[in-house]
Structures are given as structure tokens and as C-alpha cells.
Amino acid sequence: MATDAVLREVKLTLPLDANMEIAASKTAMAMAEMMSMGTDRIDEVRMAVVEACINAIEYSRAEDGKVHLTFEVLGADATDPRVLRITVRDSGVGFAPEGVEEPRIEQKLTSENKRGWGLKIIRGLMDDVEIESGAGGTSIVMTKARADDGPGSDAGVAGEG
């Protein structure tokens, strides 16, 4: 399987302030539109980016007060962009992803704490999601193929994901 190259890359650093996630989602939309991703898939990417940013804004307590995003279009060549890879990184306190209990609606309906859906939503909307977290912060790497089927869906994503 051919390894995809990074065809385009955009880096964005945002303050950990409320509603900054919208700026990130607009960048994601611009990148996805550039690679001719379908509208519904673009909306899914936007929502996943919003959730990843909110995760950093709400929980990271990063000393630099920032969340760093990298948007990469991957493909074999410029005429065939296949995958959008988005990395959302903070240098905050981190968490144990495997220790996060999967939220269930039956339980949330009667619980005081109705939140904690972000990771479930991200995993449900993106094709592939990898989370690394520890004392140095958290990195969420997520990918979405340009198309549901066809050349983009089985794209070989370069790097550690």
C-alpha cells in the first residue's frame, strides 16, 4: 500500500477561551472543502473538531493557555487528496483515555453530571481516532476520508496516526 504524503498543512494555535472552537471548525471546513469532501462529512469533521477543542478548553488546564491544531490533507499526489488528518494538542494535565467511562444515556438522564460525551461523539463521527495523553498533555489525532467509499476510504494514512 502506498504511503500518502502531506499535500497541504495548516497550523492553528488558539487560546483556551470559550467559542474558540468555532474558529477551529471553520478552518476544518475550509480544508475539507479544498479537498472536495461532501457536505455531510464536512459537518461531521467540524463537530468532531469542536468537541476536541472543547475537551482542551474545559479540561486541559494547560499552562500556556493554548490549544494547537494541525490540519493535514493527505494523498498520493495533489490531484488525489484522500484523507483529512487533524491533530488537536494541548500541554495540559492529561488524562487516562482508557479510564474514561463510556457515557450511557440511561445513566446520564438520572445523573447530576450529564456531560462527558466528547470522546464518544468524536469516535462516532470520524473514521479513525487516536488519543495519547499523559503528564505532557493530550493529543487527539483524527482522520476522515474524503469520500465514504472509493479511493479515499482505504487510504493508507502516513505516520503514527
Binding site: 444515556i105 438522564l109 461523539i121
Partner: protein, 131 residues
């Protein structure tokens, strides 16, 4: 960049519709909850949220919508959503909201169903919403 939520409430015979326009984040969710609580206090037990004007939501806003669902279950009322974008509908399904609140593609269908008791318990199915 103004993404604040605007809402509009329409009270009809035996049913109230809350129309949203804009981003449903924590402030937006609280706006909706305030409107829903007022309607409940006024005796409305059948609420429809028409999200046609909302293209993006976040999980904090949705968690406030879950509070409204909880309240409606407590008073034995009905809550449903209509006119969702495919992504918002998919998100509601991922979260399991569709088990407790009806999801309809079209407002007229939602109103008919809710008045006729089709959305009993909120777990309505609407083929139009899947289209």
C-alpha cells in the same frame, strides 16, 4: 464572529414549538432550557424543538437538552426534535437521545405524531428523518 443562539417560541393548541437559530453551546442550551421551563410552568407537556436554523451544536449544549428530556420524563410529557442536519441527527443517535425523544425530518409530521400520541415516550421513528 457571532454564533449566539436566537430562539422563538410558538404556542399552539396543546403543543409548543421552540425554534432555534445559531450555535447550541452552553449558553444556547441554557436559553432553550429557560424557554422550555417557562412552557412547562405554563402547563405545556408537549414540546417540539425545531432546529432548522442550527447547523452546529456541542456536547455541552446537548447535555442541557438531556436535562430538558429528564424534566419531560418526570412530568410524563413529550419532547421531540425536528429538522435536524444529518450530522446533528447522527450525533443524537450516537448519544442515544433518540430512545427518549422523537426525531422527525419535518415539523408537520412531528406535530401530527405528537398530537396523535405517535411519539409516546419520545421514542418515535420517522423514516423522513433518515432520508
Amino acid at each position: 464572529m457571532s454564533e449566539s443562539l436566537k430562539i422563538q417560541v410558538e404556542r399552539r393548541d396543546g403543543l409548543a414549538v421552540i425554534y432555534t437559530e445559531g450555535y447550541i453551546n452552553n449558553q444556547g442550551g441554557e436559553e432553550i432550557a429557560r424557554a422550555a421551563n417557562e412552557l412547562i410552568l405554563d402547563g405545556h407537556k408537549v414540546l417540539l424543538l425545531n432546529l432548522q436554523g442550527t447547523k452546529i451544536v456541542n456536547s455541552i449544549g446537548i447535555s442541557i437538552l438531556i436535562e430538558i428530556i429528564e424534566k419531560m420524563l418526570e412530568i410524563d410529557g413529550k419532547l421531540a426534535f425536528c429538522c435536524l442536519t444529518p450530522t446533528i441527527e447522527k450525533t443524537f443517535h450516537i448519544m442515544g437521545l433518540a430512545q427518549y425523544a422523537g426525531i422527525y425530518g419535518d415539523e408537520a409530521v412531528a406535530v401530527d405524531e405528537m398530537r396523535g400520541g405517535g411519539a409516546e415516550g419520545g421514542a418515535a421513528e420517522d423514516s423522513a428523518a433518515k432520508a
